[in-house]
Symmetry: D2
């Protein structure tokens, strides 16, 4: 398992997004994490490496060290690419260096701290002939790909109206003053750049609508706000949009939308039909039509285009997330085995179904068949 | 990555559930697939192994061969456990043999072909002192664990009524006559046992309600049907339930419920409150109360018990499935790199965001900030 | 307004269902309430009549008096029909008497206290040549009629499975011991007959599935319970169903399903498609298909059959209930006028929009048009 | 029934909104339609009057005639108020005249054709000492009143963000060129004023957010569009909002949002909580909180404030619309009786439940009780 070797920059203990990248990289069995500069100090980086099962000699104290040393390793051993999961201000330096040392790069968004950096990076990528991917993950959902396919095939006619929202509430209170790590860098212009919520989630909304519609925002009129006391970066914004193809629309995003979790959603209206999708319920793509009833498309379900179903890992009705529920059983089982490996006595400490559940299931089957064969007579299990 | 070594029995090319097990096993980075008897012939097994990046010498032609040969390998090399993902009639033989050779086992459900086998297996597990896990995966969802926790803490009072459903439509037509592999063994009593839909999905429903409620079905009255022409096993069933604690209820399941994808759902009513959950929308647990408004619990969201939030891999609002969307970006990126490794020229053949998307995002941020600082004046991107 | 003259039996002060009947009768402007025997005593009946604007001489102390006296009035004055809205045990006597005196009857359900009464009433109706209607109101929803039409036209193929539920929680606690009027007669076999929740809501479920499917329940196996301490009538039930056409299914109903309000819902599966409908969200009829995406039908919306759209009072998207919201404005306005009529000074005591809201709306229009004509410049309202 | 006497201006045959006003006025039994100037010609007005059961001498050829003649009738006979349901340009003249002749007025929105008219009308209302109500009907929903009450009590803290939408698709194509009456005046500035969709539905959105939040829009930046070929009035608009209390937000409305029916919705975010409500599902008010799970409020349900529950006509779970379903039974019954009155033979031509349904229900009860008393044995109905 794992045909490609990944080195990670950032993502040490306590990092949310580093963990997400690692899990996402491992699902399809094509990528193995082989090294990392997980934290800004060698000590912390080592601790993270150990927890992740990475050998000591592949845990580096800085991204510079990692890139240099890995470049000297034989090809079959050295990392193939780096995954950059640091705060925004630390995207450009390692990306540049990695590309210049011959490594492919996959990087969190927004891509850089400044627009100048972004444009420089674009040039570097082009001259390096290396692959650069940005994790605008919301374009990875099958139903987003279905939406894009439906529009590019003309199913909706000409797009005339777009409403996109990305609503979170986690900055409704002054969490950045409570020591919460992510909050503190998100509200700091030195680490986040000139956009706060705008850079963090507004760019997702921008990317999503341009990805799905196949057209681009031509001009915008934005009203950004910093509602949180003492904040200099926006934590909320409302934007009027005009698209190159003549469509118009709105974008609204917020991190002070109290109680909202991660409510990214989009509505797109064409002359023949329209689409609606929400990330919190990602398995439903709602389509409305001029003369037909509203339809609901699902991953792998009826009416799906290959452009979408190619990205479905499981059958229709098994929601995105089915794999994770399944993985939970494996994880609890694995934890039990690791405890045993570590010399602990076998005591079912973790929550997974056992042989007793299996027997119980068989008894249920037998009782049900017996009852049914006797015209639904009551049978004790 | 991968502290535990997994051997797989079944799950060769074209197997749905084998792939699910592999992906589920890999998400948390604790398990590595090291060997397999993927198919009933050595040739097919080898082909599967190659596709999965397993060395030839760890691809076996039969589970017997695998268990015997792996048992002879040094501990640091040999598999720690086997994952059994074959049709039902091939669960018991490899489970028994693996346990007797000192391997832990994780096995698909229903556990065995017959109740006799189940009871024998229970004895073998006990005497082997090995861990046996059954993949009743629906108990792996955080909101199912939240439901269980709420009931065990008494939040709902005494449970009085339970309605559970598991509705699929994939056997609405005679797909077993079209050569569809899974359909053909599911309707075959020699491979499935005495229960059809009952064994395949009824057992999930049974396991789910007993898991959540903490009580057990005491007796049942079942009305099973085989609507599909020529079928001998049930493809639909309706059951009256009576529970040990005095609760009563219904179970309905079907594989001829036309248009249903995987509609597993449960409603549980207590004296103080009630719960409702559907697998197709697994991030919502609906709670109703005697005197308070209806509430919606979400993974990692407000009001979640540790028993549930311990099983959440990502923050609230990032649905189950977020990891898979994310993984799609990684997979497309990986495919591009593999093509390059294989000597193909760099041509962006797969769908992932690139440096251009990154620059576009930066331009969007700059335009929005400029517009906002000029009182929402229109700014071109 | 009001071409038909209605007399009401029951429905005095504090009666929920009497008020529902009166409002329902008045919506379409075809029926006027002209007389009533609203309560068991003349005094109470008079008080109700006064509140309803019925002249004293048309308020009767008993249904017998009303039927006799009304029958003597000239045709252009006397009631055309009676509406019977008493508890179950008082359905049969007035229905019989009214029919025998030449009046049409509309009656609440269940129709009678006993099956014998029902069969006798059937004979009386036949010989009387009068119209008898039973208010199985749930068959009055446009989406229920759409469902019936789709099935009768064969859109779903042959019906094979039916799941119906009617879940309420209002008897979860012992409300009948708190003096709540409706609860006390509902749990009293002398007033309700042999069925408790069964008669009250189970019959609605029975009527609904037979109405929609066009076939009938042939046999059933029922497990009724009285969970509430001291209750002799069922407050919960689970039933296996077999239909005349070969379909099978379940019915579950409850008045101890804590937190449920009025959750009547039905799922019907055919060989070609299936339908799902819930009374608490009555404007959506969900259709699933063998090969097409799921569809949502709405009253007056795309794809509706005339059999349904003939029963829609308002355009698509104006939900059932739009009229009531509208009526609320009228009611508050009416209350204000009545106060003024009664000599009170004009003081806006009730909640309705006024001329100031109208001016505000005009200012909004003017500001928006001005802003837009100036390229979305900010304009103060 | 009907303590107040209503005269109607407009609302003749083929008018959607006239019919809505009549039905809304009649539900609560407080208002009777006694006269009308239903159309612009006496002939058409007479025809409408006849269909509505209004005597000939109370059907007028013009509103001027009606107001003058009604003013001369004795008080117990003459109308108490006029309901104005004409196109926008015909709101002001009859409203002015009615008020000046001593009649109260209830009027459709937007209130007038121009802002000047609105301000003049405001003065007239004040000097007339008559009641003027505007049918901003969406403020009549119980859950809208619940939202208003929650905010005014401070449950949500300080309001910071408001997103409101009103999306329809009925002008997606050039229906105004097909002879559709409403479409043709809606797109005509002479009849609609300077706002198209803005005046028709934008004003509803404006009224709704100001009603609920208790604050007002202070300034706005609007981008209006006329997508339909040849249209001079807007059929779509996007607006940035700033409120007097410091909140910011967006409004988006459209009549070219293909497939949308009547999707009015609002999201309001405060420092302590937030609310979300949609007119197409009016029985649910979603509340999100800083630290508690999401809640769903329902009309008459748990947690409702008296400010809302005072406006509920039926118990919790009986959705808005329950009355209309109920009324459908009454209407079919009434049609049958009218046919009979008109001398037709009794033939059940309309769809309502009969005595046979009643007997069937009794048989169902008897069968279920018998089965249950015999331990759920099968019993034939």
């Amino acid at each position: 398992m794992g045909l490609l070797k990944m080195g990670m920059i950032g993502g040490g203990a306590g990092s949310f997004i580093g963990d997400v990248h690692r899990k996402a990289a491992s699902i399809d069995g094509m990528i193995t994490l082989v090294c990392g500069a997980f934290s800004s100090t060698e000590e912390k980086s080592l601790a993270s490496a150990e927890a992740l099962g990475i050998p000591k000699n592949r845990a580096y104290g800085s991204f510079e060290e990692m890139i240099k040393k890995e470049a000297l390793l034989p090809e079959e051993e050295r990392m193939d690419f780096v995954a950059i999961v640091t705060p925004n201000h630390m995207h450009f330096p390692p990306a540049k260096m990695a590309l210049e040392h011959g490594f492919h790069v996959i990087c969190d968004k927004p891509m850089t701290l400044t627009l100048d950096e972004a444009q420089e990076l674009e040039n570097i990528v082009e001259s390096s002939q290396k692959v650069f991917a940005l994790t605008h993950n919301y374009t990875g959902y099958p139903m987003v790909k279905q939406a894009k396919a439906m529009i590019s095939k003309g199913d909706l006619g000409i797009i005339r109206k777009v409403n996109v929202q990305y609503l979170q509430g986690w900055l409704s209170t002054a969490v950045e003053k409570t020591g919460q790590k992510q909050a503190s860098w998100r509200v700091d212009p030195k680490k986040s750049g000139i956009g706060g919520a705008l850079g963090d989630i507004g760019t997702h909304a921008e990317n999503l609508v341009e990805y799905i519609t196949g057209t681009q925002i031509e001009e915008l009129a934005a009203d950004l706000s910093a509602f949180g006391e003492g904040r200099t970066l926006d934590d909320d914004g409302n934007i009027l949009l005009r698209f190159k193809n003549g469509a118009k629309g709105t974008m609204t995003f917020s991190q002070i939308a109290t109680g909202e979790e991660n409510n990214l959603g989009v509505k797109i209206y064409g002359t023949k039909g329209s689409l609606e999708w929400y990330q919190e319920n990602p398995n439903e793509l709602i389509a409305r039509w001029l003369e037909q009833p509203k339809q609901i498309f699902t991953p792998g379900g009826n009416g799906g285009y290959p452009e979408a179903s190619d990205y479905v890992r499981i059958p229709a009705g098994h929601p995105e997330g089915y794999l994770e529920g399944f993985a939970t059983i494996y994880r609890s089982f694995a934890k039990e085995l690791i405890n045993i490996k570590n010399g602990q006595s076998m005591a079912k400490k973790f929550d997974f179904p056992t042989v007793k559940d299996g027997t119980r299931g068989m008894k249920f089957i037998y009782a049900a068949v017996k009852s049914s064969s006797d015209n639904a007579k009551w049978v004790k299990i």
